[in-house]
Structure formats: structure tokens, C-alpha cells
């Protein structure tokens, strides 16, 4: 029997899956993306380098700084400039705050898919605390447009360090509560352990990135492998699990939030005083050439390839988003899984359709 799941479905996202079932075992799953395709890459060719910033972060407003980071690095590479040191640390703080809010959103929807309402309410409530924190720097709730070529738009206020410290202390206690009520819950174990296994070989062969790759036992993190900005000056661990099932993916997200908080704490300690923005002309005209930049966003490696012909607008802008690269794993993961486990396997990949469709 063939089932069409979506685009209106009781999960998260606007995404269609065509599933063939035998009894309640899935034998074949075909993803049908494209419900949010908005032509970001084409639009980037008719806007200048500054005008591109707001619409480029929209595909993943849940992780707005993460998706903008490599764009800014690529444009800086084209211009041959780099950001002042304080701006680099502020960028890192923003990227890590966004990673935490994105992972908390992941957890809350994961909770819903397991029928665990408490796990929707708690992370959603704690997400607001981190949104307040990033609002102090960025100015708005989620869409900051805060990174610009040559630095960041605004400096962190003096009270930020205190508040960040308090928030991290509070959240560390909360993470223990989460583990007690959800991650170590036998119900959660039954639904996720051994479900949707992605082996190490398959993960490498399919080109999966981000937390899903690390849950399959591959120690890969762009922040560690190819450090950008000041990531080589901070000390953090890359959580790796070898099981490759839904539970391992959940654990990786959990541990990454702890590491992000540790990075934020180190950044606040190391951050020097000084300017946060390099003076650049209002109309950027990078010399003809091409640039490639890659960073680690919340969902995995995020890359931009920009070609400039010396004019006001980019000649070509190519986005390589993590969600689209993880999409290819869905048919392999869903094969042989019970239909009831489909939502957790699908959401465990942290697939965000808006980002994948661009």
C-alpha cells in the first residue's frame, strides 16, 4: 500500500513522503521536497552584497547566524579583508547561541513526535531564555542580520557577560532535568534505541553531515577540522556516538549544547576590547574572482561558493545547505522501520525543509 504523508501532516515542516508499506513495515520511502523553494540563489544575483544578507538567513531563521556565517566569510575572502578580533568573538557567541536555540527546537519537536508534551514545553520555554540573550546583541528575536562583511553590526552591551553566565548556569541545571525526565526515560529508549540505524560506511558514502554524521561514529566537525575566526583559540570536544540510531542522534544534540555553552563562556573570558566593524564602502565591489567558505552550522557543514565579476552583484552564489545533504539518507533510514517510528526517524535527522528547498 502506498501512503502520501504531507505536506499537511501532524509533524513539523512542509514536506511530502511517499511511503510504501507492507503491514506496518515501511518497504520504500520517497521524499518529495520543494514546497518552500523560493529561488534564493537566483535572487542573490539581482541584489548587492549587503542586500543579500536578510534573505539569505531566512531559509533557516531557526539558526539565522549559522546560515549567514559562511556567506560573510566568503565575501570577506573576496574583498581580502578580515573582521576585527572582538567581532570574531561576537560572531562565535552568536553562532553558538543560535546552535543552542536550534537544538532546543529540535528537542521540543522530537518530544512531540514521541507524544511527550513536557518535552515540548520545557525546551520551548528555555529557548526563550536564550532568545533573550541573543536579542541583547542582535536586536531582534530570531532574524538578526547581524553579521556583515568586515565585522558585526553592533557590539555586545556591558551587561551581557553577567547575563550569559547566569543563563548558562541555569541551563546546565535544566539539562540534568531533561536527562532525568526524557533521555533516560525507558519510554524514550524503547522508541529510539536501534531505530533507523545509519552505519558509518553508509553515512560517509551518502555524504551526511552534522550531528547525524557524528552519531554514526565519524568525528567530523568543521569548527575543529578547518578552524575559522577564533575557533582555534577555544577548547571544546566533539561528541561522537557509534550506534547511528535515533537515540545516538538525540544524545549528540544534547552534548553539543553543553559544548556550545562552554565555548560561549570561553569567548566571554577571551574577548578583547576594541572595534567590532571594519570601515568598508557602503557599496561593496569585490574584485573579480571566486571564494568558498565553510562553517559548522547547527545542522552540519554549511558552505557558500561565490563568483564575483567585479560588479555590484554576485555573478553566481551557490548555497550548500546541510538539510539537503541529509535528505538523501531518508529513504535508506526509513527502510524496514515501523510506520509509527517514521516521525522520530525523520525528525532525528534534524531535517528542516525550508533550508533544504532554499
Amino acid at each position: 500500500m502506498t501512503l502520501s504523508v504531507g505536506p499537511q501532516h501532524p509533524g513539523s515542516g512542509h514536506f511530502r513522503l511517499i511511503i510504501t508499506v507492507d503491514g506496518d513495515i515501511i518497504v520504500k520511502a520517497e521524499p518529495d521536497p520543494g514546497y518552500v523553494h523560493r529561488g534564493e540563489e537566483k535572487m542573490a544575483e539581482v541584489r548587492n552584497y549587503i542586500q543579500n544578507i536578510p534573505h539569505i538567513e531566512r531559509p533557516s531563521i531557526i539558526d539565522a547566524s549559522g546560515i549567514l556565517y559562511p556567506y560573510v566569510l566568503a565575501v570577506e575572502d573576496l574583498l581580502g579583508k578580515s573582521a576585527p578580533e572582538r567581532a570574531q568573538y561576537i560572531r562565535m557567541i552568536m553562532a553558538e547561541l543560535n546552535r543552542i536555540t536550534s537544538h532546543l527546537y529540535f528537542l521540543s519537536i522530537f518530544g512531540i513526535f514521541l507524544g511527550h508534551s513536557t518535552m515540548f514545553m520545557w525546551p520551548m520555554g528555555d529557548r526563550e531564555v536564550f532568545i533573550d540573550l541573543s536579542q541583547m546583541i542582535g536586536g531582534t528575536r530570531i532574524t538578526f542580520s547581524h553579521f556583515v562583511p568586515g565585522g558585526v553590526r553592533s557590539d555586545a552591551p556591558d551587561s551581557f557577560a553577567d547575563k550569559a553566565e547566569k543563563t548558562c548556569d541555569y541551563f546546565e541545571g535544566r539539562l540534568k532535568e531533561y536527562e532525568r525526565i526524557f533521555v533516560n526515560n525507558p519510554l524514550c529508549h524503547q522508541r529510539t534505541v536501534g531505530v533507523g540505524v545509519l552505519t558509518k560506511e553508509d553515512a560517509i558514502k551518502l555524504g551526511v553531515v552534522g550531528p547525524s554524521l557524528r552519531a554514526s561514529g565519524v568525528k567530523s566537525d568543521t569548527r575543529r577540522d578547518e578552524p575559522y575566526d577564533a575557533y582555534d583559540k577555544v577548547d571544546f570536544e566533539v561528541p561522537v556516538y557509534s550506534e547511528g540510531d535515533s537515540y545516538a542522534r538525540l544524545r549528540v544534540h544534547f552534548d553539543e549544547m553543553r559544548q556550545s555553552m562552554s565555548i560561549i563562556r570561553q569567548c566571554i573570558k577571551q574577548m578583547p576590547k576594541g572595534p567590532v566593524k571594519q570601515k568598508l564602502p557602503p557599496q561593496l565591489r569585490p574584485p573579480a574572482g571566486e571564494a568558498y567558505a565553510r562553517t559548522e552550522a547547527a545542522r552540519g557543514a554549511m558552505a557558500y561558493y561565490i563568483v564575483s565579476d567585479g560588479g555590484n552583484y554576485p555573478y553566481r552564489l551557490k548555497m550548500n545547505v546541510a538539510s539537503f545533504r541529509n535528505l538523501i539518507a531518508i529513504p535508506y533510514l526509513l527502510k524496514g522501520v515501523h510506520l509509527a517510528d517514521m516521525p522520530t526517524v525523520y525528525w532525528g535527522l534534524d531535517y528542516w525543509p525550508v533550508e533544504a528547498d532554499k
Binding site: 505536506p7 499537511q8 501532516h9 501532524p10 513539523s12 515542516g13 512542509h14 520543494g34 514546497y35 518552500v36 523553494h37 523560493r38 529561488g39 537566483k42 535572487m43 539581482v46 536578510p54 534573505h55 531566512r58 531559509p59 533557516s60 531563521i61 531557526i62 527546537y105 521540543s108 519537536i109 512531540i112 515540548f120 514545553m121 520545557w122 520551548m124 520555554g125 529557548r127 526563550e128 532568545i131 528575536r141 530570531i142 532574524t143 525550508v354
Partner: protein, 179 residues
């Protein structure tokens, strides 16, 4: 056995009686019931869904206004919140979802993209406003709107429903085409 035509006439007569005899109190009662049981369809068309999720979270708590983020069937829902950009692929599906909802139904257009096309006004794949496919009751500006704005829009919709006159739903056959 009553034929459906006779049933329609009976309902019509009953309607007249109700309108004249107990119109005002009934109106109040029905609207009161509708206002505090708005169930939105879980149809996310783009990124505004994150702010809707935050609005249903504990800090903003939409449920205290009688809006339940229902995870059930859309045949039990009476509110369609179009959460973001509507492109050429999702537009027939939005219409299909709207057609399948039972009367009375209301539509809220959330965010700049579904109001006018927003940031994507010149994109080749984006509709310039969801009001070209479904009738919209309340528009929420913002990109994305803050949760407070969503709450305000719901209160505006509730005020609009309060002014409605009660009429029994028309009996009609709905044809839906699968695109």
C-alpha cells in the same frame, strides 16, 4: 425515511423560527462557542512556523485564548493560519486544505511573505499574497511576526467572530482534485 430535500426544507424552516424567536441569545451562544475553540490546521508553509511554535510555548501560551495547536485531523479544524511563503507547488495544497475544512472557517495570513510576497516579491516561484487563493480574515505584518502579534491577530479574529450572525451551514458537495 426523510429525503435530503425535505430535510433541507425542514432545516430552513427551523432556521426561520430560530432567527425570529431566539436569534440574539443564540447568536451570542454560538459565537461564544466558536470564539474559544479555534483550532488551527497544522499547515506550515515556511519559516514563520517557528514563531507560531514559540507562541504555543509556555511563555506566550496561546492555549489561554482558546487556541489549541491541534495535531488531529484538519476536518475538525476551523482556523487556517498560513505560516509564511506560499509558492507555486504548495498553493494548490493550501486551497485543498481550505476546501476540506468544515464551515465556518477563518484564515489568518501570517508574515510579510503570505501577505504580499514580502522579501521574495521578485522571486520566480513565490505567490504575491495568499489572498489570491483563499479569503483572508486577518493579516499579520512582520518577518517573522513576534508571538505577541499572533496573539493580537487572534484577538482581532475573535472580535470579528463576535459580530457574526448565526446561520446553519449550507449543505453542499465539495469536489477536491488531487494535483
Amino acid at each position: 425515511m426523510v429525503k435530503s430535500g425535505a430535510l433541507a426544507i425542514l432545516v430552513g424552516r427551523l432556521n426561520d423560527v430560530l432567527q425570529y424567536a431566539v436569534g440574539e441569545p443564540l447568536n451570542y451562544l454560538v459565537n461564544w462557542g466558536r470564539i474559544y475553540s479555534l483550532w488551527p490546521v497544522h499547515l506550515e508553509t515556511a519559516c514563520c512556523s517557528i514563531e507560531f511554535g514559540a507562541a504555543s510555548g509556555p511563555r506566550y501560551d496561546l492555549e489561554r485564548y482558546g487556541v489549541l495547536e491541534a495535531f488531529g485531523s484538519l476536518r475538525q479544524c476551523d482556523l487556517l493560519i498560513v505560516q509564511g511563503t506560499v509558492n507555486r507547488k504548495v498553493a494548490p495544497r493550501v486551497r485543498m486544505v481550505y476546501d476540506q475544512m468544515p464551515d465556518p472557517k477563518y484564515v489568518i495570513s501570517m508574515g510579510a511573505c503570505s501577505n504580499t510576497g514580502g522579501l521574495y516579491f521578485d522571486s520566480y516561484n513565490v505567490l504575491k499574497g495568499v489572498d489570491s487563493i483563499v479569503p483572508v480574515d486577518v493579516y499579520i505584518p512582520g518577518c517573522p511576526p513576534r508571538p505577541e502579534a499572533i496573539i493580537q491577530a487572534l484577538i482581532m479574529l475573535q472580535n470579528k467572530i463576535k459580530k457574526q450572525k448565526f446561520a446553519p451551514p449550507e449543505l453542499k458537495q465539495i469536489e477536491t482534485k488531487v494535483a
